[in-house]
Amino acid sequence: MANRVVVTGLGIVAPNGLGIPMFREAIKNGRSGIKHHSQLQELLFSCQIAGRPELSAELISTCFTDLELRNFNSEGILYGVIAGMEAWKHAGLSLERKEDPDWDSGTVFGTGTSGMEKFREAIYKIDELQVRKLGSSVVMQTMASGVSAYLGGKLGLGNQVSTNSSACTTGAESVLMAFERIQSGKAKRMLAGSTSDGGPYIWAGFDAMKVCTYKHNETPEKGSRPMSLSASGFVPACGAGALLLESLDSAVERGATIYAEVLGGHLNSGGQRGTGTMTAPNSKAVQNCISTALKNTGLHADQIDVINGHLTATMMDSTEISNWCTALGRSGDNFPYINALKGMTGHGLSASGSMECVASVLQVAEDFLFPNINCEDLHPDIAAQIDPQKIPLQYQSHPIEYLAKASFGFGDVNACIIFKKYRS
């Protein structure tokens, strides 16, 4: 019999909130984490605004030793480890160092790249014929699995320790991969999450593709506008989110606080067929992903109370809404409530899915809808499909039984997860 899987811990490093208490406050109050970055201006970026968490040396030193920080320059690993360790502690799990690894606990912690700045540093040294001066610090900071490897060592994880990567679907995918491992009985606890490096060397490619907004360099907090008529591209961001998933049996046995149940979901790809390309989704696949997630969790489309969308503030937002309408067979005032975190955080790329899962679980646990900021001029193509009331502009308290979270990524890949309020 399949194990039920619950969320017993959360952690986050987001542009608008470091740690769960600050993040919860920020999303309830619609606080933006987007700022103008003079470095981007100096480097002649079209989009000079971004969401980048500002970590204090004090916060970093709670998770890293002085030795680890020697020659350290891997932003994504910092974010991921800090968020991951917060989720572990939030779940009431011990950080005491034991002789043997914890065979029942593992992690799937995703990323798009690792240690981009460290890699750049290394490349300069290599080209200056200084390869021998790289020291020991390059490999662990630039290997894709660096973030899960650091977490594995700090937490003494003895189950699967791995990093997944599927562009902007990464964070949602990590949750589903961790879910499946616990559901099948191969692990009791899995730290699921994802991180993303930030900065010009990550964001440049998107800037060059002209998918980021260049119209809000003077008004950064207004720049990320999911579902709005004046949406003009996404705002690049970075950070990390983490969820401690656990079998219901283990959580109950430990007397842990349960924030939500993960019912399951689905991962798929549009194969870059139909409307799908490397960079655009095959709508048929998005609809298939959502309806298969419902099927896998035994739900009827009418049961979904809230959607946390992918919604990046590009012209694909109205396509996403139409895919939800088709997949759920719901529209107008029968459509669920829907919100987009990216209005406040920007698009955290490989970290976006996990940061949004954290926001989703907080909403399910505490029965509220965070506001859709910068959506006062709702796009008419969206207003034609769903009742604008379903896109709350203000914080509202609202009972939630089932929430559907979706993420979509380059490569035409999709994920849809169903979170449920936990009832004993």
Partner: protein, 87 residues
């Protein structure tokens, strides 16, 4: 440069990498970097790079492989300083 001075400068370098502060306090020529100071083996190359910078010398790959304890390290540093005419 006498052995005591070499040792005290070496001690400052390895103090950044050791996970055993007691062994560091009683550091002597017989101290092993891995067994006594519990330095992570990956960090041995960092110790060598720091030694190069501290003493203004270059340590070849063959010498690097031998630098596993304080005695060997001091010998290598002395040899390299001698070669450079700076002992």
């Amino acid at each position: 440069m006498n052995k005591e001075e070499l040792l005290s400068r070496l001690k400052v370098i390895v103090s950044n990498y050791t996970q055993n502060k007691e062994a560091l306090d009683s550091i002597n020529e017989d101290t092993d970097f891995l067994k006594d100071l519990k330095i992570n083996s990956a960090n041995l190359v960092d110790v060598v790079l720091d030694v190069e910078e501290e003493f203004g010398i270059e340590i070849d790959n063959l010498s690097m492989e031998k630098m596993l304890n304080v005695r060997a390290a001091i010998e290598i540093i002395e040899t390299k300083l001698h070669e450079a005419g700076r002992e």
